[in-house]
């Protein structure tokens, strides 16, 4: 009886993690489509994507329990959390430099 209640609580926690991760990723996609500028789009997608992927990975780790697979997923989670802000910073630097130097692309209207 005690074990069943514990298992049900764990399942509800996993479902909550998956649902909130999907919600964050959905908000990131809406920001990517709706925002007017490169920097605002980056602002929306990077944070929401990192948080959503982290929550989904956390739910999967809770589902798998303690094993090599969950250790691998933890490794991917740490890697995503390290590299996603770094990539966004690199893109923002390049976009800002091109904005400052005033280089227009071919298809871009001013």
């Amino acid at each position: 009886m005690m074990l069943s209640i514990w298992s049900l609580g764990l399942d509800i926690l996993i479902l909550l993690c998956l649902a909130s991760g999907l919600f964050f990723i959905f908000v990131g996609v809406v920001g990517l489509i709706r925002m007017p500028d490169v920097f605002t789009r980056m602002h929306a997608t990077t944070k929401c994507d990192t948080m959503g992927a982290g929550l989904i990975f956390l739910g999967l780790i809770l589902w798998q329990g303690l094993s090599f697979v969950s250790l691998n997923i933890l490794l991917i989670l740490i890697f995503v959390w390290l590299t996603n802000p770094t990539a966004a910073h690199a893109i923002a630097k390049s976009a800002y430099q091109r904005l400052e130097s005033g280089i227009k692309e071919e298809g871009e209207k001013d």
Partner: protein, 89 residues
């Protein structure tokens, strides 16, 4: 119960990836396309992990790790190419 939820979330993630592909195709500047591709790369990593756990093939998780690494390298390389005009020093 949880396995059904994992399958449903994988399907929702695939649909959201195709919605994000719209910005990669249409986006006015090159940076918009790089942002969209970076987001698609993160989502595909999550989808590969979900598929690995659905089909219970443990070594697909390593594929997801390599895919995350490749997406990061591609994004950094493209940003550097746009900033300097070349990929060398």
């Amino acid at each position: 119960m949880v396995e059904t939820a994992v399958i449903i979330s994988a399907i929702i993630l695939v649909l959201l990836t195709f919605v994000g592909l719209f910005r990669a195709i249409k986006g006015p500047t090159a940076e918009d396309r790089i942002v969209a591709i970076n987001m698609i790369s993160t989502k595909v990593t999550v989808i590969i992990v979900l598929i690995a756990l659905i089909t219970s093939q443990a070594f697909y998780v390593d594929v997801a790790l390599v895919y995350a690494l490749l997406g990061f390298i591609a994004t950094i390389g493209l940003a550097k190419l746009l900033m300097k005009g070349k990929l060398g020093k």
